[in-house]
Symmetry: C2
Subunit: 381 residues, 2 copies
């Protein structure tokens, strides 16, 4: 186990940090995920699914029996095993690190728990400059169990399978902190953003290093790719996203780009934000189930080229998770449509690769066999 | 009190029904709402807010003390008073009929209750052809208390204020019926839609007459305008919306168009659906807070003109309800921006009128004075 060495998150990564990441990372030049992400021709279309690790699998529910959600994110043996379960069962091209949006906050010492059926709940909401000043920033040493869990995953993955690291973006973290838990409308969050922009920016400044440290720690433990989730960004207008969110997400992508792994950015209800979320720096843009991939890629490409910006190489998505609750023929039909839309995006020159995924997370009530079949369908096309 | 006469909801309205509506409706030629909806120049920019009647007002909470939500929708005195409270307090240009999506189902005899903090909960979810066959269709006679309540509102409204009638669209009704209550992802609904399209269409066929009867009953009681809410349509892709939802919404607009009142259509998260929701037949398209009004109007107009379809005349929206939780200066700034975007849509020839509204409903924690000030700001511009 190598402990991360980059302790100053807002600076460039240290040479030692980059060297540690390079040493920890496995050589996987033919992994379909990496080939597709790099704009090459993969041996098969890569597929993974958000929330593939977790609630839909009986072996997960068995393993979690009697273990609190957040405890399982900090127990290396459970973390590895839960991350690997869907990869084994479904022949996935990527494992997604089993974690939660609030893991880096919990690691830093924030009093947060995940209440079953509700989500992350904070003991004290963070709403004032004093609250923000008291908010701890995570230190690499507080993430040792995650590092160890990543090592366990990498030991078992095949060379053609990758491990995708995971972090929630600062806006989504901020919303949990301000609301004190999940929110239907993010009213307190937005009201703070509007009425006390300085307080808002101070909170985002405070959270950004935590996200960077969380991702760098994973990178220096050997992850092959990463996804920055901005689950709730789709609650914002483009104007507000630009002013209050984009600069921080951009700083995070800038801070981890030197590690050279493919970086994914994703949120739901982002039809109006796709261009801006692509502009903050990811290599791969994830699309929810509501915008067809070819439409999304065309929109993003037109927007970014107009602005003289680099266009993400690959698109990721975008099966409606509810489709997996329908029968095999329905699923197969949607899989074919989405692959055709991915191919159309590539043929039009608006993407160089397609990574198959859902347009949101696996629903808990999904039959695992339906997931396995969907993976096989993608691979057969 | 006039009871409605149109009993066969899928046919054209009867002459007697149209005559009853015309007789019940007040003459309000100079009402800013109606002038803006007709493409004229109103004496001031009309404004109302979704959920203006209800939880934000202390006089509402007082009136509702000890009265179940659905009971209050069926008590004419309460219905009138609750509908009128925000009009008096805020000098609104329109009253919105106090009601709930499930009111016509409840009136028809469906066992449904509104559970505080949760929403409408069905005693028996509707998921099979037998469930659908057993689902009653509302009869005008079951809506007498709503008719009486409307009469009470019309008696008190000024001539320059209008009463907007209200119905939930069949997709949103279907989701409550299938899920058995509010749902985060509408998974059971979509899975039924995908795996048993015949069952889905049978349910939509069953619900459409209920929505039509509910609206015609309100029309024949004298409402001046109507809004068809498709709260959850934004969970669907454009393709699915077209196939599974649009035909029924279109039939509803067709069935009530002969009454000649302005018809509004609205949903949230509809960035990808705006054109299609405009295409089903409303005169006014409501926009959530995430798409600027000028952008929305341009998109809708381009889409519908390409297809040789009639373009809605006016746009309605679209202040983020969370803005009302911020301070007066923030609110004033957003109001000015939205009015400017509405004016830009008109100047570009993509709309002939702007009706100011929120981009979703008033949040319960909103200070009523902030709402009053926002109305005044709109009127002052």
């Amino acid at each position: 186990m190598t402990l991360p060495t980059s302790a100053s998150p807002d600076a460039n990564p240290t040479d030692a940090g980059l060297a540690a990441a390079a040493a920890a990372r496995r050589a996987a030049p033919d992994a379909p995920f990496l080939v597709a992400a790099a704009g090459g021709t993969p041996s098969r279309r890569p597929v993974w699914m958000m929330r593939q690790a977790g609630r839909s699998l009986p072996e997960y529910r068995e393993l979690r029996a009697g273990v609190e959600m957040l405890d399982s994110c900090f127990r290396p043996d459970l973390l590895s095993e839960i991350t690997l379960q869907p990869v084994r069962r479904h022949d996935a091209d990527a494992a997604i690190l089993f974690s939660d949006i609030v893991v880096p906050l919990k690691a830093a010492g924030v009093a947060v728990d995940i209440v079953p059926g509700r989500g992350p709940v904070l003991e004290h909401p963070v709403r004032t400059p004093a609250d923000i000043a008291a908010l701890p920033t995570v230190e690499p040493g507080q993430l040792e169990s995650v590092v160890e869990g990543i090592g366990g995953v990498l030991d078992e993955l095949r060379d053609d399978q990758v491990l995708i690291g995971f972090a929630g973006a600062p806006f989504t973290l901020a919303s949990y902190l301000i609301e004190g838990g999940p929110s239907k409308n993010h009213g307190i969050t937005k009201s703070l953003m509007y009425s006390e922009p300085q307080t808002w920016h101070a909170l985002m400044e405070r959270l950004t290093p935590t996200v960077i440290t969380f991702l760098r720690t994973q990178l220096e433990a050997g992850i092959d790719a990463l996804q920055l989730f901005d689950s709730w960004a789709g609650f914002l207008s483009l104007k507000d996203y630009r002013e209050f969110v984009a600069p921080y997400s951009q700083r995070i992508f800038d801070a981890v780009r030197p590690y050279g792994v493919p970086m994914i950015h994703f949120g739901v209800n982002t039809a109006e934000l796709l261009g801006e979320m692509a502009a903050v720096g990811p290599d791969i843009i994830g699309v929810d189930w509501k915008t067809p991939l070819d439409v999304a890629a065309a929109r993003v490409t037109a927007d970014l080229r107009d602005r003289g910006l680099r266009v993400p190489r690959a698109i990721q998505g975008n099966l409606d998770p509810a489709v997996l609750l329908a029968g095999p023929e329905v699923i197969a039909g949607h899989v074919r449509r989405i692959c055709a839309e991915g191919d159309a995006a590539i043929a039009a020159g608006n993407a160089t690769g397609h990574i198959f995924n859902l347009g949101h997370g696996v629903l808990p009530e999904t039959d695992p066999d339906a997931i396995t079949r969907a993976f096989a369908e993608v691979h057969a096309l």
